[in-house]
Amino acid sequence: MEELRKIIEIISNLAILIRTSQVHDIKNVAVVNLIEKVTGLINNFLKDEKILQIDLVGEFFYANDTRLKYSIEHLLNFDFLSRELKKRNIGTVIFKNMLGTEDTKTFLKAFLSAGFSKDPLKTMLDSLKGMTSITVDRLKRVKEDEALDMRKVVKKTYFNAVSFSKGLMNKIKTKEAVNIKKAKRIVESMVDLILEEEQLFLGMTAIKDYDEYTYHHSVNVSVLSIALGQRLGLSKKALNELGLAALFHDMGKVEVPIEILNKPTAFTEDEWLIMRKHPQWGVKALLTLKTPDPVLVRSSIVAFEHHLHYNYSGYPKVRVRHEQDLYSRIVTIADQYDAMTSSRVYSRVPLPPDKALSILIDRSGTQVDPLLLKFFINMVGVYPIGSMVLLNTNELGIVYQSNPAFPDRPRIRIIMDSSGRRTDTTVDLTERDAEGRFIRSIVKTLDYTKYKINLAEYLM
């Protein structure tokens, strides 16, 4: 535990050093002091461990093969360092043999100049040539077959969750006993995979053509909430609680008559009255599932509040305005985003993800919490997964994975090439040409629903 604390301190201070030296000259006393501090911290660690290898894998840092836990105090520093490393295509930094301040200074200079280079990694490697105490290596891309295996695992976990959600609702309807332990285990699997393979999981939620909207919606809201909770720095235990609360948020819909739920046309006022009861019905259903525990208490709160809206303009109407629960506000964003991008029975036309995002922004401060929305937008990016985009190369594609370091440069599945022929390749919009210019950029977005594009073909 002590070692982990030391490593977190090293990474945090390294980020501060880089950020400070981007503003001040390397001879500035603030930078000099930070160089000494970072050198000291690293040496203190190397004294016992001999080597410190920091790897950036996906969104996470690993130190000597141990994944570092996301922590709120270090969130900005970790994010900053992760972005800076990705910009330079660096995935590994190794420290060994005890450092001198000159070594750290050389590393810093190399790092800064690489930021302006067309081939940052090469610049970095050249600058550090001959140096034994600090070495760097390329950012590793997940191999295709590994990605394929992970995709299978993610898919299986996702459908397990949907199938469970279906069973759960049916059991509540027929008043059968519900296995909450199992629900916890399922959400634990989702949390694990979201921590490791967030993009793959978010991709699953972008597929909207399933028959059983209600069950998929519950799981999607759970996935989106966990992903947002992870960005906020919630612990694994808290993520599990949040994921469960999100999975159960619409439990009250089991009481809404099926003919209303499946009504293809707009609801009458009376039908809306019934629909608006589902938050209370959710509380009722959850509290009678079993003897309450902290998870059920929290889930009941979320079930009641998820349509309340940030400014209480939603439903149910309440006599006293108590501050809304953090999880309720997270779930509200996830719920609205998924609902808008889905073809529900009572709203047949789903919105494209980027459009849904801009509507959410319009609702910031009224229906949704502005602070949490800011985190959400940073998570899904300018072009959320599932967005259909035209590139400046005249290629048409679907956003496949977002890139937190470059929110407007996601990975794209190209479905039509520049000549308008069908194709299937994946490109990364951060790729640059020999002159250091980005090879591709997004120039237009399209509503995929207008063209009956089946996202499952590209994201599953």
Binding site: K156, R185, V295, L390, R422, K444, K452, N454, E457
Partner: protein, 547 residues
């Protein structure tokens, strides 16, 4: 040496430690030693083997390097089965395992079935997110419907995107408007600070919030019988949970909301009845039993518990009496007694049923509660209890009868003036003094005049005279003066005691005119008499000044 032996030993130590961890609290030296020993053993084993410790878990056995290191065919207390049943198939302890992790792990595996109601072993291990303990779980148990994934995938892939639609999209894209991307504002220190504040607020307990929600639901639905009926189980559930969590304020809040709703004149009798049933549930046997368990186990604030009980209906009286006999904690008993004193006022008939309890201490407590209530309707029941076989109960009854000032008790109390126990006799005298009727006075005077009285102990006799002095009437004063002056040929010492008591009583009456006569005896040769006389004089002079 084979690596199997140290692993086998390690598991034996683990089993021993597990028992000790379950048995002793964390601050107990046995617990601390067990953890230290286990840690030392683990460090030792890591020195003896080359790799990490990887254990394969089977139903009844544990294997290390394909060799059996643990076997138990039993279904209970079986370490292998403990892990296996929740799906754990491999358990790995990595080098670098520290004591804190090991202790957390031991705490988890030491939980018994009752403590594992809400979470299984995998969830508990998962929540700890150990850095040096890893496990492999068979997730197949999580699959509800084997074919669901296949069906859903086939269905979603059924309608492939048509080439024409794709082409149309492509062509339209060429003519579409340029992109206006969403502006992403990078997160800054202010956002982080705001988030930290959110987390701080989020750490507050959630039950109060749920109670508020339940209250909202009651207010929204209480005039709709069907809806109200349906939310009653949820209300009960939160009420029970609040008590389990020792949050009596929340439980009280629920009852208050229910009672406020019940006061609405617009609602029907049916609904009133439903609301009443919720309050009755709050005082039901099962809920009161839970209250007993909570207040006996932990030191809760008395105020909120009493406030909760005050909200209850009379049906709570019987279960409260029941737990009164079961509580071990004195503070807890006092809370229940005080609460029964409040509830009992509403239903004396129900409370006095407790006088028939087989446990003497419960009967004594009920008598005490009746005294606190002071309702004269309880006298007839107290009189029936006055012959209780336990002296402690009898004494309490007598005291209570006195404090209730029940004149009808005088004739019954007469018998107790002759009780073999001096404490009972004294209690009876005091009770008669409290009742303070002519009959009571007469009874005391009669007793003092009996031959037998002379031979009672001085303290008992003083008690009679002290009580008698409270009448301060002519008859009593005359009697006292007569006793003060009375000489005797026989039993002189005992007679002096009576005279001393009379002097003492005159001092208590406090009349200045008795100073003169008292002074006459201030140099008596009998030390007991003399001392009492002198003390009476001092008392009188203190209040009236020297003459």
């Amino acid at each position: 040496m084979s690596e199997v032996t140290p692993i086998r030993d390690l598991l034996q130590t683990l089993l021993k430690t597990k028992k000790l961890v379950r048995m002793y609290p964390e601050n107990n030296p046995m617990y601390i030693k067990a953890i230290n020993d286990m840690y030392e053993k683990t460090v030792e084993v890591f020195q003896d083997i080359e790799n990490d410790i990887t254990l394969n878990i089977r139903q009844y056995e544990i294997l290390y390097d394909d060799k059996q290191v643990y076997y138990n065919p039993e279904k209970t207390d079986n370490l292998a089965l403990f892990f296996f049943k929740d799906g754990i198939r491999e358990l790995k302890f990595l080098r670098g395992l520290n004591k804190e992790e090991l202790e957390d792990f031991l705490k988890i595996i030491s939980l018994d079935e009752k403590e594992l109601i809400d979470d299984d072993i995998v969830t508990l291990l998962w929540e700890k997110d150990f850095q040096h303990i890893k496990y492999v779980v068979d997730e197949s148990v999580l699959t509800e419907d084997e074919d669901y994934e296949l069906r859903a995938t086939q269905q979603v892939l059924e309608e492939t995107t048509s080439p024409d639609d794709l082409l149309r999209a492509y062509r339209d894209a060429m003519d579409a408007e340029g992109v206006k991307p969403t502006q992403i504002v990078p997160l800054g220190e202010t956002d982080l600070k705001a988030l930290m504040q959110e987390f701080e607020k989020d750490s507050e307990p959630k039950l109060k919030k749920l109670v508020y929600i339940i209250s909202e639901m009651i207010y929204q639905e209480y005039n709709n019988k069907k809806e109200l009926e349906e939310i009653i189980p949820a209300i009960r559930s939160v009420l029970e949970y609040s008590i389990k969590m020792a949050d009596f304020e929340s439980a009280t809040e629920i009852l208050k909301v229910v009672k406020t709703a019940a006061e609405d004149k617009e609602i029907s009798g049916d609904i009133k009845l439903l609301l009443k049933k919720i309050v009755e549930f709050g005082g039901s046997e099962s809920v009161i039993k839970n209250i007993g368990e909570v207040i006996d186990r932990i030191e809760v604030e008395e105020g909120p518990v009493k406030e909760y009980i005050q909200q209850l209906d009379r049906n709570a009286i019987t279960p409260l009496i029941e737990i009164l006999g079961e509580l071990k904690n004195m503070r807890a008993r006092r809370v229940v007694i005080d609460s029964l004193a409040i509830l009992g006022r509403r239903d004396i008939q129900n409370l006095v049923k407790g006088l028939s309890d087989e446990r003497w201490y419960v009967v004594r407590n009920i008598v005490y509660i009746l005294r606190l209530i002071g309702d004269k309707r309880s006298v007839e029941y107290l009189l029936k209890t006055i012959r209780h076989p336990d002296m402690r109960v009898r004494r309490e009854v007598i005291k209570t009868l006195g404090e209730i000032k029940a004149p009808q008790a005088v004739s019954t109390l007469r018998d107790h003036l002759n009780d073999p126990d001096p404490q009972i006799r004294i209690a009876t005298v005091r009770a008669l003094g409290s009742i303070h009727t002519e009959a009571a006075k007469r009874l005391l005077l009669q007793r003092i005049n009996t031959k037998d009285f002379l031979h009672r102990g001085l303290e008992e006799k003083k008690e009679y005279f002290e009580v008698l002095s409270s009448w301060k009437d002519e008859e009593v004063i005359e009697f006292l003066l007569k006793t003060l002056k009375k000489n005797a040929l026989f039993n002189r010492a005992k007679n002096f005691e009576n005279r001393a008591c009379a002097a003492y009583a005159l001092g208590l009456i406090g009349s200045k005119e008795h100073l003169k006569i008292l002074k006459k005896y201030s140099d008596s040769g009998n030390p007991v008499f003399r001392d009492h006389v002198r003390n009476a004089i001092i008392r009188l002079e203190a209040s009236h000044g020297r003459t």
